[in-house]
Structures are given as structure tokens and as C-alpha cells.
Symmetry: C2
Subunit: 416 residues, 2 copies
């Protein structure tokens, strides 16, 4: 029997109704069982993973790519632990924040419910298969997982653990669909199935995300890039600014919450920039500096407009001296990717104005941009980071995989 | 100078930043001034409206269409009053629901902010121009209004009131863009401008909504149709059921929250259906009945699968006898448009199970589907009704035109 994406998506929609009606303890029991089965089936999973690794090596994939694919006992333990942690989080489904009585006599509330069917389109990391399935199941959603072809054997082996856990709990197995054929045509078809699929979350490179968001008829939550700004105000505590610069730029350069641009108030530049230069030199960070700040940095290159747009994801940073607070806001308004922006200032009004004025997904005063992460912000596990404002903005946890319906309780009322 | 949609959308995005930073009283003052100017410029608006009416009559438009276009003093008073009511509603922007301290020491909250730039694509009613602009401004958004060509003179005359109010308050006039040329090509271009526009809300016939949602790269909130179900349980209070049927089907047949299908438990059919038949006969409602119920209704036709999908928007109803509660749920799962569903039952568990199980945008126990409306549910004025689950589900008020950003307050914390 050939695989039909439309058919499977329809079946997933039917299965989603059963999931939406499960209690929290039923869902948690499934999740805990998935975690146990991942460890129980270690040998089969690692053997399947070995097939992917060998194929990747034969195809001469870059070693970083091969590393991303690789699973071992310790990786499986981490994956299983993450699933148990998701089981331990609170369940948003079914909660009603408040019920109000209306003049007509009816009582009106909003109840949180699952979105329905969520499709994940992702690249090579096999752990996404389990992470995404666990988060979607926790929120009562069916999920369609379309991973990269490099990880297909690993993904199918992991999917067997999910399938077994669902079966043991008498859940319709179409609640979690792992697309067995990572063909482009199937992905393209998936993006047209808006009658069955409620949301697509692409995870991977900018090319993949752009392709999905430009071609999908199903709503897409997108995260293009993080061009995070640090603004060092003239009222900044210089030690805080240095720590936040160091942590933001050098701790993990490949993260989307790493710093890419630093704006410095002109009145603090002479005191702050030499210290910043020493720090960046020690951390081997290449500097792209504006004309006024160029002299502070040995070996720096002159920043161009491209640098203000750049997400380096490397030990590089763009630095600009600004005349005042408003100039910093104007620069961020122009170049922000909507991800995370930070002010360092001891001035109360300035910090408050920054927090209010900048409408990026995460706005911070006196804290490292590296905190812009689901776990650090208190959401638990993260299914993605949205830089578009609709539905969810910023790091997305389980609650972002739900919506709210209106509940009306009457006693025979009709409309006048 | 020719009109450039891309350019104007970009200018609207720039203007949106100023709007996002206004206080509630500044926004309310603009709204109250718009209301006053609509009455002040009555003559000019009615003269412009007369141009549209004459053109429509010359083009032999149906008289219902011409009526939808027509403005008079009383219509303008209602429009102005609606704007003042929107000004009087509470402002969601800037509110933070709670701030929590994280283990790292940072404090994390979520602050409500405007979406940015909202585009409305609508058909002939000129009051939408003011309603939509007022709701978008209240939430701090810039708005692009693309109305139908039949109402273009009326829309431009109303837009002048908005322009004057913005100017008097020193607001960038691109905060409200009325597209002067309702050409299809301009609408098509608008739908590609996802770098500037955050949300498109189409209002009008199903054809328009489908066209926009299938072709837009900007996120769309769609409301296709309302196939609202009434389920009369065997534990129903028959008088409540009759009142809710009467109100739901006959009060306003053209509304999307009118009833289209009634499901009746087989054990109450013999008692309830003769009374329902008398009521529907009195109201001149045409009945499409299932095989088992056909005998109860004089002049009824046999229901086909098409009837279970139908949004009649007329004095017609589809009626089906179901074996039990589960069969009612299964029918709704299959045919629901995700709008509004009602159970009439005095059985506590049955009502609760219905409320939990049905994930339409509005789910009711013992109340008329006609309450499924922004005003009745307590949202104030309504900008649309979403039957897709992302971002907003059901009637949308001012809060649906906002999103939330994360706010992080630190004192120099960095990530470990």
C-alpha cells in the first residue's frame, strides 16, 4: 500500500479528537511509557541510527552534519528524560481562566483546547522526532512528523516506541504520523492540506523556513533569525554591560539568542569601549565597527549596512556608537529581527522606556540575551521560537500548541 | 504621483511604531475626535455616498446591494456612537498578567502589545471603514483598508475624518491607509507584503475569504461559514429547546450564528418533534428531514448529505434523529464548521461532556446560538469571527488585535 499524505492527515485529524478528550493523567502515562520504551529499545534504535550514520558518511556529509545525526546511550537517556519532564509539566488543556455573567444571564468563559493537528517539518536531528511528538501529545494534539531523509531510519525506529505506547493505551495510532518517505513532493502536498492540518512548524535553516512560509496554505509559525541587540546606555553599570556582552556574544555563538550588534551611547564610549575591546580580543571576537568606534578595536573592519542586518552565528559582532537613547531605539526599529533586545542601564526611566518601546518578542533590562529560551523563561521544553507576532511571539512551550474556545452556560436564555 | 501599495504598507509599518507608543488617553482622544468629525462632515460624507448610490443604480446592482451601501444621518450617528463605545472600552496594550522570578534571578512577564499593521479586505458596507479603523487604532495598530469599489467615494470621505483627527493629534497620517484604487492587482500585491503587514482580515462572501486565504503570504484570519448545530438531548427541557430553536433559526436567518441543523435524541423525538413541527410551520421554515423524522414535518423534503453541510442563511433547517449522545457528537465532529454548537439538556453530566468534547469556537449549554457574537460574549465591538484555531478562535474583539511579548527584568544576570 502506498503512503497517501492526504489520507494520513485526514486520519490524524480523526485521531486528534480522541487525544483532545484524554485526561492529563492518561496523556502523562503515554509520555512516561514512550520514555521507558526509548531506553528499552536502545539496541534497535542505535542500530537504525548506525544505518543513517553510514549512509551520511558514504554520501560524504560534513562531519558536523554527521554529528548532529548521531545517537548513543547517553543521548537516548537525555531524550527520555526530556519526555518525562514534559509529562511532569502542567497541562494547559481544559483550564478556564474566568467565567463572567453577561447582562443576558448567560455565563461566558474561555476554555483552553488543543489546536488539533500539528505538522513539524525539520532537518536532521532525530531528537526532534521525540521532543515534538511529546510536546504535541502533552497539549492533546495529533502530530505529523516530516524529518530529513538523513535521519529516516533513526526517526522510524523512534516512532516505533511511540506507536507501541499509543497501542498499549488504546490510542488511535494515527495520532502520531511519521512520514516514511521524506520526498519533497510529499512535503509540498502536506503544506496544502489546510482542511486537516491546523499548524505547520518548520525547524531548520532559513531556506527551509522561508520555503515553507512562502508556499504553505496551512498557517506557519516561523523563526527566521535572531539579530539580537545590546544597547549600553550612558547610565549603564559597566561591569554588568561587560558580563552581558561576554555571555551574549561568546557563550554559544551558534544560538539564535546570541548577540549580533552592540549599540553604545556616545557619553560612555570612551570609558566602556576600551574594556569591551580587551574582552572581545581575549574572546577572539572579530569586530565590525562604525566609523566613530573603529579606533577602539585593533584589527576591526568598518561596518557596512550588511553588518547591521547580519546574524553572524560566529565570533563576530557589529558595534555602533549612538548619539542618544532615541538613536538606539531608531536603529533597533530599523534592523531588529523581532527576536531579543537588551538595554543595560541603571536609569529607571530609560530602562522602562526601552521595555515599553521595543516590541521584539523578548525585551530585557540588565540581563543576558541568552535567557531568551523557553526553559529559562519558565515555559519548560520549547517547540520553537516565533518571530512573527500572530498566535505566538517568542519562545513557544506547550501552551502555544493550544487555543481557546468560548464556553457559554445558560438556563434557556435566548437573544432579545 | 501614483499609489504604490508596497510603499504605503512600508509607511504604515513606520507609523505603527508611533501608535504602539501612544497612551490609552491619547488613543481615546483620537477616536472621540473621529466620531465628532463624522457628524461634523455629514454633508460631505452623504454627498460622496450619493455618488456611490447613483453609480450602483446605474450599474443595475441588486437593491439589497444598494441598501448595504446607503448612509444617512441616522447611520452616521450609529457609526459615530460605535467609535465612542470603542474608545470607552478598556485598552489591552501594556498590561502584564503576572511577573515570575526564575531560578536564575531574572523576573519574567508577558506584556500585551499591538500586532503592528493590519489589513482589512472587505466588500461594500462603508461602516466597516470606520469600525475597523477604530478597533485597530484602539489596539495601537496601523491599518490598511481595502474596501469594495462600489463604496469607494463613501470610504474616502470617511477616511478624511480619520485623517483630520490624526493630523490634529500629530499622528503620522500613514497610520490609517485607505486604498484609493480598489483594483484587484493592488489587493493581490497587498497579500504578498508580509515584511510590512502582520495580519489580513477578509470580511465578505465565502469567495473573497477563500481567495485571500489561499493566496496570501500574510497570515489570514478566516471565517468561512457557520453551520451551527442544536442538539436536543433526551433529558432536554422541551420548552427551553423550543425557545432556543425558535430564536436560533427564525430571529435573524442571515446571521452566521443562526441554526442550520438540529439533532434530536430518539427517546424524546415523539414528544418534541410534533411541537417543533408546529413552531417551524408557524415560522414558515422549510425542513430537510432525515428518514426517521420525515413523517413529523408536513411538506418536508428528505435530507441529503448536502443538507448536513449546508449554511442555508434562510428559513430552512436540516433535522436528524440520533440514537444517542455519542451519535450527536459524531455528527457534529463530521459536519461542524467550527463556529457554534448548542446542547439542550437538564442532565448535568451530559451538558458537561458536550462542553468538553466539542471543540468549536463557541460551545453552549441551554442557550441560543445567537449569543455567539462579540457584544453578547462581552468583547465589545467585533472585528470578525475566526473559525480557524490559530491566534484567535471565535468572535474577535480588540484583544485579538494584539499579541504578547516577553519582558525580562534583571540586575546583571548572565546565563550559567
Amino acid at each position: 500500500m502506498t503512503f497517501s499524505m492526504a489520507d494520513k492527515a485526514h486520519q490524524a485529524q480523526i485521531a486528534s479528537r480522541q487525544l483532545a478528550r484524554l485526561t492529563s493523567s492518561e496523556k502523562n502515562s503515554i509520555l512516561n511509557r514512550i520514555a521507558a520504551l526509548i531506553l528499552h529499545h536502545e539496541d534497535a534504535i542505535l542500530a537504525a541510527n548506525q544505518l543513517d550514520i553510514s549512509a551520511a558518511q558514504q554520501a560524504n556529509l560534513a562531519s558536523a552534519m554527521v554529528d548532529r545525526l548521531r545517537l548513543d546511550r547517553s543521548a537516548l537517556e537525555k531524550i527520555a528524560q526530556a519526555v518525562n519532564e514534559i509529562a511532569g509539566q502542567s497541562d494547559p488543556v481544559g483550564s478556564i481562566s474566568k467565567i463572567e455573567r453577561r447582562p443576558s444571564g448567560i455565563e461566558v468563559g474561555k476554555m483552553r483546547i488543543p489546536l488539533g493537528v500539528i505538522a513539524m517539518i525539520y532537518e536532521s536531528r532525530p531528537n526532534v522526532t521525540i521532543d515534538a511528538a511529546a510536546l504535541c501529545l502533552k497539549a492533546g494534539n495529533a502530530v505529523i512528523l516530516r524529518g530529513g531523509k538523513e535521519a529516516i531510519n533513526s526517526n522510524l525506529a523512534l516512532a516505533k516506541c511511540i506507536e507501541q505506547a499509543l497501542q498499549e493505551h488504546k490510542i488511535n495510532p494515527d495520532a502520531v504520523v511519521v512520514v516514511p518517505d521524506p520526498d519533497r513532493a510529499i512535503m509540498n502536498e502536506l503544506m496544502t492540506l489546510n482542511q486537516y492540518v491546523d499548524l505547520i512548524i518548520p525547524r531548520g535553516g532559513e531556506g527551509l523556513i522561508r520555503f515553507v512560509s512562502e508556499n504553505s496554505r496551512v498557517p506557519v509559525i516561523q523563526h527566521f533569525k535572531g539579530v539580537c541587540h545590546l544597547y549600553v546606555d550612558d547610565a549603564a553599570d559597566i561591569n554588568k554591560a561587560l558580563n552581558i556582552l561576554d555571555n551574549g556574544k561568546a557563550q554559544r555563538v551558534s544560538a539564535c539568542n546570541a548577540l549580533e550588534t552592540m549599540l553604545v551611547h556616545k557619553d560612555i564610549a570612551a570609558e566602556f569601549l576600551p574594556k569591551a575591546a580587551a574582552l572581545l580580543k581575549q574572546r577572539q571576537v572579530k569586530v565590525h565597527a562604525c566609523e566613530q568606534s573603529l579606533g577602539y578595536f585593533e584589527g576591526a573592519t568598518a561596518a557596512t549596512d550588511e553588518d547591521w542586518h547580519a546574524e553572524y552565528l560566529a565570533l563576530e559582532i557589529a558595534i555602533k556608537i549612538v548619539d542618544d537613547f532615541d538613536a538606539a531605539i531608531a536603529h533597533i526599529d530599523l534592523y531588529s529581527s523581532g527576536h531579543t533586545e537588551v538595554i543595560v542601564s541603571q536609569d529607571y526611566s530609560r530602562a522602562q522606556q526601552f521595555i515599553r518601546s521595543i516590541n521584539s518578542a523578548v525585551v530585557m533590562a540588565n540581563a543576558s540575551s541568552r535567557f531568551s529560551d523557553g526553559g529559562e523563561l519558565g515555559l519548560g521544553a520549547e517547540i520553537g521560537i516565533s518571530t512573527s507576532k500572530l498566535h505566538a511571539y517568542g519562545p513557544m512551550g506547550v501552551e502555544s500548541l493550544t487555543t481557546e474556545k468560548f464556553v457559554v452556560l445558560g438556563d434557556g436564555e435566548v437573544r432579545a
